[in-house]
C-alpha cells in the first residue's frame, strides 16, 4: 500500500499537476543521510491565495480529502520542523523558499522504519492554508535514505568555530598574534565550499542574524543584500564525500589586532554549484532559471569574538614570518608523551641571538631559551610536558641583532601533548 502511495506521489509530483493541486515544489525528491541531519533548499511555487503553515515528516501519506494533495499519516509521524530551523520566507513570484533541515531524530525514525522492512522513503509535507476560505493544500517532498556522500545535497549540518584552545572568547594584547582559528564543518554531499573570512572591526555595527546565514539559505533576490565587512581572505576548497572537513582560518598575520576593542570573525559561505540542491524556478511557476542551493544550512553561522587591548606595548618591529620560520613542531601539533621535544626553525643571516619562547594561552611564560646564532633548534627540558600538562601551549622564535634589537619574529604556533599518562 505504502509503495503504491509513494508511486502515486512520485508521479504526481513529477508529472506537473495532480488532481486540484496547484502548488508545486522543486526539488520534489532528494537523497538524505540515514544517520544524521541533512538540509535542503526547497522552493514552493504558485502560491495563489495560500499561506504556508507547518511542515511535517512522516513515513507514509494518506489522501488529504477534503483538503488537497496528500498529507502525513498521523500514526507514522516522525516530527515537525522545529521553529529554530524554520528559515522559510516568501520570495519571488508567488513563491515560498523553505529550508528543510532533517534532524537526527527524524532520520533515526526513518532508518528504524526501513530496518523493520518498510520502504526507506519518507516524506516532508508542507501545509498551505487558503486565505480565501478554500481547502488547505498539502505538498510532499520524497526523501530517500542513503549515506552522507555523493548524490546527497551539499549542506552544512554543524559548523564549529574554534581557537583550538578550549576558550570561547579570546583576550589579546595589541600586536600580539592570535592563535590560528579554524572551522570544523560536518556536511552532507560533495562539491566546492567557497566563501570568505571577514572581520567586524571595533566600532562597526555587528551583523544581523540574517547576515550570518549561508548565501544558499536565502532566496535568490536576497543573496546580494547581506552586509559585508572587511575581507581577510577568500577560500574555494573541494569537499570530498567524506562528511567532515576542517577549514583552516587565514594565516595569522592577516588577522588584524592593531585596534583596541571587540573584533568578530565571520565565516561567509557563498552558494555553490550543486546539482543535488538545485531549485528549478520555472518548473514550479516561480520565475525562470535554476537557483543554486549548494552549501545550504538551517542555522546562522557562528561568530568568533576576540578583544584587543593595550595590555602590552610592542616596540616597532616587524612581525612578519619572512626570513624566520618555524619548522617543527607544526601548528596545532599533538605531541607524543614521554619523548624529548625539539623546537626547530630556519636561521636568518643577521640574527646574533635567538629567543625561543613557550607560554600558555594566557601569556604566562612556561620556558624560554636564549640561543646563539648558529643554533636553529632547542631541545626542551624533560619536565616541559609536566608543566604544560593537558593545556594547550604555544611557541615562537625571535631573532635579535648584535645590539639586542628585535629583528624578526615568527607567529605563535600552538601545541599540546597527547594524553597518555
Amino acid at each position: 500500500m505504502r509503495r503504491l502511495l509513494f508511486l502515486a506521489v512520485f508521479f504526481i509530483s513529477t508529472g506537473a499537476t495532480a488532481h486540484a493541486q496547484t502548488i508545486t515544489v522543486s526539488p520534489n525528491n532528494v537523497n538524505a543521510y540515514s544517520q544524521g541531519a541533512t538540509s535542503v533548499l526547497l522552493t514552493f511555487g504558485s502560491l495563489i491565495n495560500k499561506r504556508p503553515a507547518e511542515a511535517t515528516w512522516c513515513g507514509d501519506l494518506i489522501p488529504a480529502v477534503p483538503d488537497l494533495g496528500f498529507k502525513c499519516n498521523p500514526i507514522n509521524t516522525f516530527g515537525r520542523l522545529p521553529a529554530r530551523y524554520d528559515r522559510s520566507i516568501q520570495s519571488g513570484t508567488n513563491a515560498f523558499t523553505d529550508i528543510m533541515s532533517i534532524t537526527p531524530q527524524v532520520a533515526r525514525r526513518a532508518y528504524l522504519d526501513a530496518a523493520q522492512g518498510a520502504t526507506s522513503t519518507f516524506f516532508y509535507v508542507r501545509r498551505f492554508i487558503s486565505t480565501v476560505g478554500g481547502p488547505d493544500e498539502y505538498v510532499p517532498v520524497t526523501i530517500r535514505l542513503s549515506g552522507h556522500g555523493a548524490r546527497v545535497p551539499l549542506s552544512l549540518t554543524e559548523v564549529k568555530l574554534t581557537w583550538g584552545v578550549g576558550k570561547p572568547v579570546l583576550f589579546v594584547k595589541t600586536m600580539e598574534k592570535l592563535p590560528r582559528f579554524q572551522a570544523e564543518i560536518t556536511f552532507t554531499g560533495t562539491g566546492r565550499l567557497k566563501g570568505r573570512w571577514e572581520l567586524v572591526k571595533p566600532g562597526e555595527l555587528p551583523p544581523e542574524p540574517r547576515d550570518l546565514l549561508t548565501e544558499a539559505t536565502l532566496p535568490i533576490e536576497e543573496r546580494n543584500t547581506q552586509k559585508r565587512y572587511t575581507e581577510i581572505s577568500r577560500f574555494n576548497v573541494y569537499l570530498p564525500p567524506t562528511g567532515k572537513i576542517v577549514l583552516p582560518g587565514p594565516e595569522v598575520w592577516r588577522v588584524d589586532d592593531s585596534l583596541n576593542g571587540l573584533y568578530l570573525v565571520l565565516l561567509r559561505i557563498e552558494a555553490s554549484d550543486d546539482k543535488e540542491g538545485d531549485t528549478d524556478l520555472a518548473s514550479v511557476g516561480a520565475g525562470a532559471g535554476v537557483v543554486k542551493g549548494g552549501a545550504v544550512a538551517g542555522f546562522s553561522l557562528p561568530v568568533l569574538r576576540y578583544y584587543v587591548s593595550n595590555g602590552h606595548y610592542q616596540p616597532a618591529a616587524t612581525t612578519t614570518t619572512s626570513g624566520l620560520s618555524q619548522v617543527s613542531p607544526d601548528e596545532r601539533a599533538v605531541l607524543p608523551s614521554a619523548v624529548t621535544l625539539n623546537f626547530t626553525w630556519t636561521s636568518v643571516t643577521k640574527a646574533a641571538v635567538y629567543r625561543m619562547e613557550v607560554e600558555d594561552l594566557q601569556g604566562i611564560p612556561i620556558i624560554s631559551a636564549i640561543l646563539t646564532s648558529e643554533a636553529n633548534s632547542y631541545r626542551a627540558p624533560s619536565w616541559l610536558e609536566e608543566k604544560v600538562g593537558d593545556s594547550v601551549a604555544r611557541w615562537r622564535v625571535s631573532g635579535f641583532d648584535q645590539a639586542g634589537r628585535l629583528l624578526i619574529q615568527t607567529d605563535w604556533r600552538s601545541f599540546r601533548f597527547r594524553r597518555e599518562r
Binding site: 572568547v169 572591526k201 612556561i366 639586542g404
Partner: protein, 759 residues
C-alpha cells in the same frame, strides 16, 4: 551583574573538593617525601652582592663534572641560558654581551641534564641585578669592570627575560646574607604570588556614515563606552600551585553584549567572557572553568565547555580523571560552574593504568560517560540537532615500544543512546516511538617508523613511517561526547617518508556504509587515494643553501570514487537510476613559494573535477580551477606590503555555464614612528558568467591611523592608550538577467576610538 552560583553548584563543588582532598591526603606521604639531592656542589660569583646587567657572572663547581654525569642546564627565571655559559675548567662563565642579565631579583636554577635528556634540579640561587646608576651609588666597587654602552644592553635584556620582578623569589624567604649552600637547601621554601590585573576602557564612536539605499540606519552616529577587564593570578606555595584567569567584557551598546543573541535585552551589559582556574597539589590537578576533556575517540573526545575536572595520579601507575561539564560551550555569569542544568550536562570519568614501568609503554584507559543535551547550539557553534541522551563506556589501549618506533592504539566503545521526546519536534503530535539502543564502535591504529634519521650520506637523513587504521561504527551509534559518523566501516593505510627536507605522503582509504545491509537503503562504497609531495627545489637540484631564488614546491593529488553498490529495493531509487551515485572526484594542488631577502611570493593552483558516471547523469560534470598568487615585501622593519591575486573558474559541463571570479587584494602596514601607525587594505572581487547573464562587483576599502602611548612602568603604575581613526567603504553591485535583479549597496563609515588600559 555578578550572580552567585546556586546552592546545587556549591554542594557539588564542595563534594568534589572533599573527594579530591581525601585523595590528596592519602597521596601526601608520597608528595612530601620528594626532595632534591645535591651531589654536585656549586658556588656562585654573585652570592651576597648585586651585579650589573652586563657583568660577567660565574658558577663554580666544587668537583669536576664527569662526562657520564651529563651536562648542566641553567635557567635564569624561566629562561634557559645554558648556551650562553662557557666552561673553563670548573668555572662556568656567563656572557652578558649576548644577552644582558634581567634587572631585579631572579631565581637561577641549575639542573643536571643526563645523557638521555632527563633534567634534575640540583641547585637554586638568587641573582640580584641592579641598574648601573643604582649600583654605582650603593656598591661603588661592584661595577668597576663593566663594559661600556650598558644602557642599550639594559633596555633589551630587561624586557626580554620576561618580568624579572614578578618571577623573583620572595626575599623574606631567602635572606640576602645566606650562603650559596643555604640557598641550595632553601629551594623547598618557594613561596610566590603574582597578580596581574588589567582594565581597558574604550570609547568607540561613529561621527559619520552613509548608507545606500536608504533609509539611513537608526544608529547612524554614536558614541559608546566599552570595557574589557582581566585578572590573572599565579600562586606557588610549596607543593601547591595555582593559576587563574578571569576575563570580562562590557558594552553600553546592547547588541554587542556577550549573550545578546540568546537573552536579547535581558543580557547583562557587563558579562563574564570566560575563566580558568587550575590548582595543582603535587601531581594532583584541579580545573574549574573552560577546558577540553576526553581522549576516547568514540565516547568523549576533546569536548570543550565549562565545568570541573580533577586529575589524580595514585599508586605510581594509576591516574583518575573526572569531569562534569555543561552540554555546550557558554559565556556569562549564569551557570558559573557549568553544572546548573542537570539536563544539559556531561559527566565523565577515566581510570588510566600504566601496565609497565616505562611511561607510555603500555597503558589502558577505561572511561564512562553520562550525558543529556538540550537542542542548543551554544557559543561558536551552529548545528542541526535535537534532544539527546547517552550513557556509555569505553576502553582504550596504547602501546609504544622502548624506541618509540612502534605505536599501537585501539579502543572499544559501547553506548546507550536515547532520544527523549523533543517538544520542539513533536509540537503536540504523537511521534513514532524511538527505542533506546545500545550500539558499539571500535578502532585500531598501528604505526611503525621503519627508518628514523637513517644516514644515507654524511648529510642526508631519511625517515619512513607506515601506519594502518581501522574504524567501525555500528548503525545508529551515538555518544554525545564525540563526533562520530555511524553505520560505517573504514580502512586506511598511509606511508610517510622524508629525505632531509624532501617529504612525501601516500594514503589509501576505503569505507562503506549500510552495515546491516537493509535492502531499501542505499549502500555506498567510497575509495580515496592521496599523494603529497613537498620539496625545496634546491634539494631537488642538489644546490646549496644559498640558492635563495629556488622555490619550495608542493604537490598533492587526491582521487575519490563514491558509488552505490547496488540498486536498493523499495527505496525509491529504482524509479530514477540517476539517484544511485557513481562519482569520481579528483583534486590536485600545486604550490611554489619563494623567499628572497625581504621579498616573499608564492603561487598556488588547484583543480578539481567531478565526473558523474551514473546512468542519466553522465554529463553532469563540473570542473573548477583556482589560481592564487601572493607577493609580500617587508620593505623595512616598519613597513610591510602585501598583494593578493586570485582567479576562480567553474565550468558546468551539463549546462555549459562557466562562472568566473577575480580578486585583487593589496594591503599595507606602516609603523610611521614608535607611536604612530597606518594600515590600509583593499579587496575587490569581480564575478560573473561567461555568457554575461550575471555579474557582480564587491569592493571593500579600509584605512586606519593609530596613535599609541604609554606612561609609567610595569604593574599598577602603568597606563597605556591607543587612539585610532578608521574609514571603511563597502561597495556591492550585482545584476542577473535570468532572475531579473539589479542591486546596489554602498556603505561608508568613519569611526574613532580611544582606548585606555590601566595596569
Amino acid at each position: 551583574m555578578f550572580q552567585y552560583p546556586n546552592k546545587k553548584d556549591f554542594n557539588r563543588l564542595t563534594l568534589s573538593m572533599a573527594g579530591v582532598a581525601l585523595v590528596l591526603i592519602s597521596a601526601s606521604g608520597d608528595l612530601l617525601g620528594q626532595g632534591g639531592t645535591a651531589e654536585i656542589k656549586i658556588e656562585t660569583s654573585f652570592t651576597d652582592k648585586p651585579v650589573a646587567a652586563t657583568e660577567n657572572i660565574e658558577l663554580r663547581l666544587k668537583q669536576p663534572l664527569q662526562e657520564s654525569d651529563g651536562r648542566l642546564g641553567i635557567l635564569i627565571g624561566t629562561t634557559d641560558v645554558s648556551r650562553l655559559f662557557t666552561r673553563e675548567g670548573l668555572r662556568l662563565r656567563y656572557n652578558p654581551k649576548l644577552w644582558p642579565l634581567p634587572v631585579g631579583e631572579t631565581l637561577v636554577t641549575v639542573y643536571l641534564v643526563s645523557k638521555d635528556d632527563m633534567w634534575r634540579e640540583i641547585a637554586r640561587f638568587t641573582l640580584q641585578v641592579k641598574e648601573e646608576s643604582e649600583l654605582a651609588r650603593t656598591h661603588p666597587q661592584a661595577n668597576q669592570d663593566l663594559p661600556g654602552n650598558s644602557d642599550e644592553w639594559f633596555f633589551s635584556g630587561a624586557a626580554y627575560f620576561g618580568n624579572p620582578k614578578t618571577s623573583a623569589v620572595n626575599p623574606s624567604s631567602e635572606p640576602e646574607s645566606s650562603t650559596s649552600s643555604d640557598k641550595q637547601e632553601a629551594k623547598t621554601n618557594n613561596h610566590r604570588m603574582k597578580i596581574t590585573p588589567s582594565l581597558t576602557l574604550t570609547v568607540p564612536s561613529q561621527p559619520a556614515q552613509s548608507t545606500f539605499p536608504g533609509p539611513q540606519p537608526e544608529r547612524a552616529t554614536f558614541i559608546e563606552l566599552n570595557m574589557q577587564a582581566s585578572m590573572a593570578t599565579e600562586v606557588n606555595h610549596g607543593a601547591f600551585t595555582s593559576r587563574s584567569a578571569f576575563e570580562f567584557a562590557g558594552t553600553s551598546f546592547h547588541p554587542e553584549a556577550l549573550r545578546f543573541e540568546t537573552l536579547g535585552n535581558a543580557a547583562p551589559r557587563v558579562d563574564l567572557a570566560g575563566y580558568q582556574i587550575h590548582f595543582q597539589v603535587g601531581r594532583a590537578k584541579f580545573d574549574v572553568g573552560h577546558f577540553s576533556h576526553g581522549s576516547q575517540r568514540h565516547l568523549i573526545n576533546g569536548f570543550s565547555s565549562r565545568g570541573l575536572q580533577v586529575t589524580v595520579p595514585f599508586l605510581k601507575r594509576f591516574d583518575f580523571t573526572a569531569a562534569a561539564m555543561n552540554g555546550t560551550q557558554l559565556v556569562g555569569y549564569d551557570n558559573f560552574f557549568g553544572l546548573s542544568k542537570r539536563r544539559h550536562q556531561m559527566r565523565s570519568g577515566t581510570l588510566g593504568v600504566e601496565l609497565i614501568e616505562r611511561p607510555g609503554g603500555l597503558r589502558v584507559e577505561v572511561s564512562a560517560l553520562n550525558a543529556y543535551f538540550q537542542p542548543i547550539s551554544g557559543v561558536n557553534r551552529g548545528v542541526v540537532t535535537d534532544l539527546q541522551r547517552s550513557n556509555g563506556i569505553a576502553i582504550r589501549f596504547i602501546a609504544n615500544d622502548k624506541s618509540q618506533r612502534f605505536h599501537f592504539e585501539g579502543g572499544f566503545t559501547r553506548s546507550l543512546f536515547a532520544s527523549p521526546d523533543d517538544l520542539s519536534l513533536s509540537q503536540g503530535t504523537t511521534l513514532v516511538a524511538l527505542p533506546n539502543l545500545t550500539r558499539n564502535a571500535q578502532y585500531l591504529e598501528m604505526s611503525y617508523e621503519i627508518l628514523r634519521n637513517y644516514s644515507l650520506t654524511k648529510t642526508k637523513k631519511a625517515n619512513l613511517n607506515v601506519s594502518f587504521r581501522e574504524e567501525g561504527v555500528a548503525p545508529l551509534f551515538r555518544s554525545l561526547g564525540a563526533s562520530t559518523q555511524a553505520d560505517k566501516i573504514q580502512y586506511e593505510l598511509s606511508v610517510n617518508g622524508s629525505i632531509d627536507e624532501i617529504s612525501a605522503q601516500f594514503g589509501y582509504a576505503n569505507f562503506h556504509d549500510n552495515l546491516r545491509r537493509i535492502p531499501s537503503i542505499l549502500r555506498s562504497s567510497t575509495a580515496s587515494t592521496h599523494l603529497g609531495l613537498a620539496v625545496p627545489a634546491s634539494a631537488l637540484l642538489n644546490r646549496g643553501r644559498n640558492s635563495a631564488w629556488l622555490p619550495r614546491l608542493g604537490y598533492s593529488f587526491a582521487r575519490v570514487h563514491a558509488f552505490g553498490v547496488a540498486i536498493p529495493v523499495n527505496g525509491g531509487f529504482e524509479l530514477d537510476l540517476s539517484t544511485v551515485p557513481d562519482l569520481v572526484g579528483t583534486n590536485q594542488t600545486f604550490s611554489a613559494d619563494w623567499q628572497v631577502r625581504r621579498f616573499t611570493w608564492g603561487y598556488n593552483i588547484n583543480r578539481s573535477f567531478q565526473d558523474n558516471r551514473q546512468t542519466g547523469r553522465e554529463s553532469s560534470d563540473q570542473s573548477v580551477l583556482v589560481n592564487t598568487g601572493r607577493v609580500g615585501v617587508a620593505a623595512t622593519s616598519r613597513l610591510n606590503l602585501n598583494f593578493d591575486l586570485s582567479a576562480e573558474s567553474a565550468a558546468n559541463k551539463e549546462t555549459g555555464r562557466i562562472d568566473r571570479a577575480y580578486r585583487v587584494g593589496p594591503s599595507i602596514t606602516w609603523q610611521l614612528t614608535r607611536h604612530m601607525g597606518v594600515s590600509a587594505s583593499l579587496a575587490n572581487t569581480i564575478a560573473g558568467d561567461a555568457a554575461r547573464t550575471s555579474r557582480s562587483r564587491n569592493t571593500g576599502f579600509d584605512v586606519s591611523w593609530t596613535y599609541r602611548f604609554e606612561r609609567g612602568s610595569e604593574g599598577l603604575k602603568r597606563v597605556a592608550g591607543q587612539f585610532f581613526i578608521r574609514y571603511a567603504n563597502q561597495y556591492s553591485r550585482a545584476f542577473d538577467r535570468i532572475f531579473a535583479f539589479d542591486t546596489l549597496n554602498k556603505n561608508q563609515t568613519l569611526t574613532a576610538n580611544l582606548g585606555i588600559t590601566f595596569f
